[in-house]
Symmetry: C4
Subunit: 215 residues, 4 copies
């Protein structure tokens, strides 16, 4: 009885570790996009404080991107409680998903560079939201492939939980699609959708009970 | 009896691995902030030695940030000897904590750029210390959430050790708060507090005995 | 009976983890090569959209490099299902292989910089293909060393699978060699070979059956 | 009987994983120091090939640093076959060692920038060798702390192997010290010492026999 469990755990173990690696690196690289104010710009430090404050778009981009990836990591974690097996196509879809995650530092840097700029703001926010549409679609693809017909799930995976998760994940692409459209109308409203989604995904799928943990 | 233990270990396993990943990456990215002296500046190498020596603020920033994160990693390690379970909120607080850690290369680079500059030094050191106030608060939040009422701890977790750790961790925000204030008075004294805190946290909580290991 | 298995798994465990680390980092660093269009170039954002579109060589390089490394990671994963042991020379060959993988962000950046430029295109694509020739040869060396005479394989490793893999991996150096030569004739045809190889390696070695999983 | 073993393995597990993370990141960051030749310098690509060839000091630095860290990783791996336990001081010494490893991309970049330059070459090679003296000393400190009186070793650790390793590791600081001195006399001879050390550390400590694996 022990062997299949051990095998299953090692099977998803490596894709979990690899995903965690890409999550961790992409999330940590975000800071490299924040540029140190150069001495020529700050009068050799005499205006360093306002210069640091004027980097607020960089801090905001860092905050949204970091927390969103962080929550995705937490949910990815919940997902793999239910997934027991892997196969080639699952690994390949995971690679595609990770490619979208790893791309995020670039649109975040574009956002940071142009958010304070009325002429570039719309395109920058739209580009940022479009990346999240792609990430959310890829995230759903990973889950759909694993969950469809219970293909890669634990046999005992709670059916209700699986359906709740499926519905919940679908909110992502729709909401990010909305934020993409909103970017052309009002970039700030578009970013507000990102904030709302963070709040939505922080909430657990269901309250934990004595017999069932929160997922 | 075996299952809960195995489950527990795998439960904290992934958050430990992810934290270690972010710790390792943030700590290793610090070196990217040290700029190679350009050939135009060093007369094509004829003044390379003084140019390398004049980078001492970069080396100092690298040293303090690396060792402080390293010690935090060691203590994080000790913390997870006592923590057995995770839940969604714990993971989210951990994400917030890691966001603060991953931000550190930026204030370190600001420090390196302006430490030798009398006009920017105060703000640079204050910004650096302020980041550590945030890191220390987030670190305490991770511990408090897990330890409060023994929420996520091992049932057999040594109560005395838990209380000692709780007190000890509180030193961080207070001392870094002090170094933040000191930065405006005397930046060197402020950095000295960082050095003292490193010494403080290197010491074990209690001497190891035959029956109890150092923590 | 349990011990040898546990030992074997721990033996390859660390090289798998280290390889995964280098794979994950190299793949994630690719995004750093994409440069944010500067405000001076985009008229402070008024031409941000065309500026983002003109970065297509960067996106293409990111796409090909990411997916190719991703597939290599998946196949590396399949390889280690069959490999049970390690020795010093195997680890050293793995280090050499990882050195080639970790180098990839550089030729990818060269490709992105010169692909749209008729004068530099041939050399850039040839340099990119030459790197893949080296990667493919190193990948084969890792496998050959492990598989030759079953040196490091599981005793029960399916012989037919081993031979199929051996033949399949040989396609890599030959096809990348071809894409290297083609680069001087027609750089686009050379890149098309990269696309074909991605398709080829996505297909499983054999259809999974009830008794044998896909590899 | 099972528990102490499981505990021991998990005890060194996290420091091994963290070390592997820093090794993997430092090694992979090396490529970031290689600069893409800019279009202004290469006549928009017409002199791309000679420009890529003129980067040979970067390739050489990448090669030496990557392989040396890679071999250190392999030997670190052998070291942890013998080490069973950790304690606070061991972790702190490990942090110090990793700080030296993670610093390496900087002297490698300095070497790449000034190796082709007769005026800066001596200082660049000496700085590079000095870093390796530090790394080798820190590496020895990790081993000495663990091995002294068998402090953290397996009880059954082969005594002869422990002594052979101790002697072998001492070669590092001495040889790198020599290469440091040589840098001022003849930088190429100094780099040759790095090459010889790579060859020396590639050889196993002893031939594997039926009863004893190579270490």
């Amino acid at each position: 009885m022990t062997e299949p469990i051990a095998k299953g755990s090692s099977e998803t173990g490596r894709v979990e570790a690899f995903s965690d690696g890409v999550f961790a690196i992409a999330i940590t690289l975000l800071v490299l996009e924040i540029q140190v104010p150069q001495p020529e710009v700050t009068g050799h430090g005499s205006t360093l404080l306002p210069a640091l404050l004027s980097l607020w778009p960089s801090y905001l981009g860092y905050l949204i991107s970091f927390i969103t990836i962080g929550i995705m990591w937490v949910n990815h974690h919940s997902m793999f409680v239910l997934i027991q097996r892997t196969d080639r196509y699952f690994l390949l879809i995971s690679v595609f998903f990770l490619m979208c995650i790893a791309f995020l530092p670039f649109p975040t840097a574009v956002l940071a560079e142009y958010l304070a700029d009325p002429k570039g703001r719309r395109v920058a926010v739209a580009f940022y939201s479009a990346t999240f549409v792609l990430i959310a679609l890829a995230y759903n693809a990973v889950w759909w492939y694993a969950a469809r017909g219970g293909r890669l799930l634990h046999r005992k995976a709670d059916r209700e939980a699986v359906e709740t998760i499926s519905k919940r994940y679908l909110v992502g692409p729709v909401a990010y699609g909305l934020s993409f459209v909103l970017a052309f109308v009002n970039p700030w409203a578009s970013l507000a959708v990102h904030g709302l989604l963070i709040t939505f995904y922080i909430l657990p799928v269901r309250k934990p009970t004595a017999s069932r943990p929160a997922i």
